[in-house]
């Protein structure tokens, strides 16, 4: 009798595990990607035009843009859930958020530390006044790009397969920027930093969003 109960409980556990594993996140991602792409591209143009060139200004500016992008993405996802009469905070949404959080939080913590320590960087290397700017405007964007890629790669385990590739594009792109090192002196720091942010957080998102727009539409039609 006890054995049958165990057997039934095991069966239920297997069913639960498989149901959780197959419940992929299937909200239409094209609007979210296009929104983030527009935000990234417009923010890069504004940042460049407004000459946000101070290390602390650069980090703060892009942190605010990041928060606005996250807020906007959640709003879009919530709107989709409401229009489909489905719960917003569904198990797949929860899993995707949980998967993305560690790299994103790591990026935020590193940025706060760099922001707080900018003055001490200057004191530590008085002979090199460009050091804080190099850290804040060259290495921090590269770290953001790599960590953002890690976040998408982790979320890709609960999303359609293309999301992992999107994550890899950021990881490899960010590493390539690290490998390329500091840009030549003729390239202005202002132009380089905002262009990198605009390329990855603007153009990459827009391109993937447009691709998803057509593929998701085709999937809905079949």
């Amino acid at each position: 009798m006890r054995m049958e109960s165990n057997w039934a409980a095991e069966h239920l556990q297997v069913i639960r595990t498989l149901m959780e594993r197959s419940a992929l996140y299937r909200r239409a991602l094209a609007p979210v990607m296009i929104f983030n792409g527009c935000m990234g591209a417009i923010a890069a143009i504004i940042g460049w035009a407004a000459e946000i060139d101070s290390p602390s200004g650069f980090i703060t500016y892009w942190a605010v843009i990041g928060l606005l992008a996250i807020g906007g993405s959640f709003f879009l996802v919530r709107r989709q859930a409401l229009s489909a009469s489905e719960p917003f905070w569904s198990p797949p949404t929860r899993r995707v958020t949980q998967a993305m959080l560690p790299p994103l939080i790591a990026g935020a913590i590193i940025s706060v530390f760099v922001l707080v320590r900018l003055a001490s960087f200057q004191r530590a290397a008085p002979q090199n006044p460009m050091f804080p700017a190099a850290v804040a405007m060259l290495w921090i964007p590269e770290a953001w790009i790599v960590l953002y890629g890690c976040a998408f790669h982790a979320a890709g385990f609960f999303m359609p397969r293309g999301m992992k590739l999107f994550g890899w594009a950021f990881i490899l792109g960010g590493c390539a920027l690290f490998a390329a090192g500091i840009p030549p002196a003729r390239v202005s720091r202002l132009a380089f930093s905002h262009s990198v942010m605009g390329l990855f957080f603007g153009v990459f998102h827009l391109a993937y969003g447009i691709y998803l727009f057509y593929t998701e539409k085709r999937r809905d039609e079949t």
């Binding site: 009798m1 239920l12 498989l18 149901m19 959780e20 197959s22 085709r218 079949t222």
Partner: protein
């Protein structure tokens, strides 16, 4: 112990492979053949056989289409299949309830 719930278990769903397929399909509107094969670690032949059995029982429907010029086979659970699967889970819960110490 009442043996009734055990005897009522749907034999089509009760097989390990088919139970796994039904569990996956119950949680999502549709799944592609490759997604199921990769998740369940089944061979193409094995998965095809199980899906055919489920289709013959009216539990699963199959859609064939093309994506990026490649054939795409997707499976989804039918209303009959959903009902049978819910019934199967209810029976499992009854078995657990019956044998739980009071």
């Amino acid at each position: 112990m009442n043996p009734e719930p055990f005897l009522q278990l749907d034999r089509v769903i009760h097989e390990k492979g088919r139970l796994a397929i039904m569990s996956m399909l119950a949680a999502t509107p549709e799944l592609s053949f490759t997604e199921m094969r990769d998740t369940l670690n089944m061979t193409d032949g094995n998965l095809t056989t199980h899906i055919r059995t489920l289709q013959e029982a009216g539990y699963v429907s199959i859609t064939k289409s093309f994506q990026n010029n490649r054939p795409l086979t997707t499976c989804s659970v039918t209303a009959t299949g959903k009902k049978a699967f819910t019934n199967y889970i209810n029976l499992l819960e009854q078995i657990i309830q019956q044998t739980r110490p009071k």
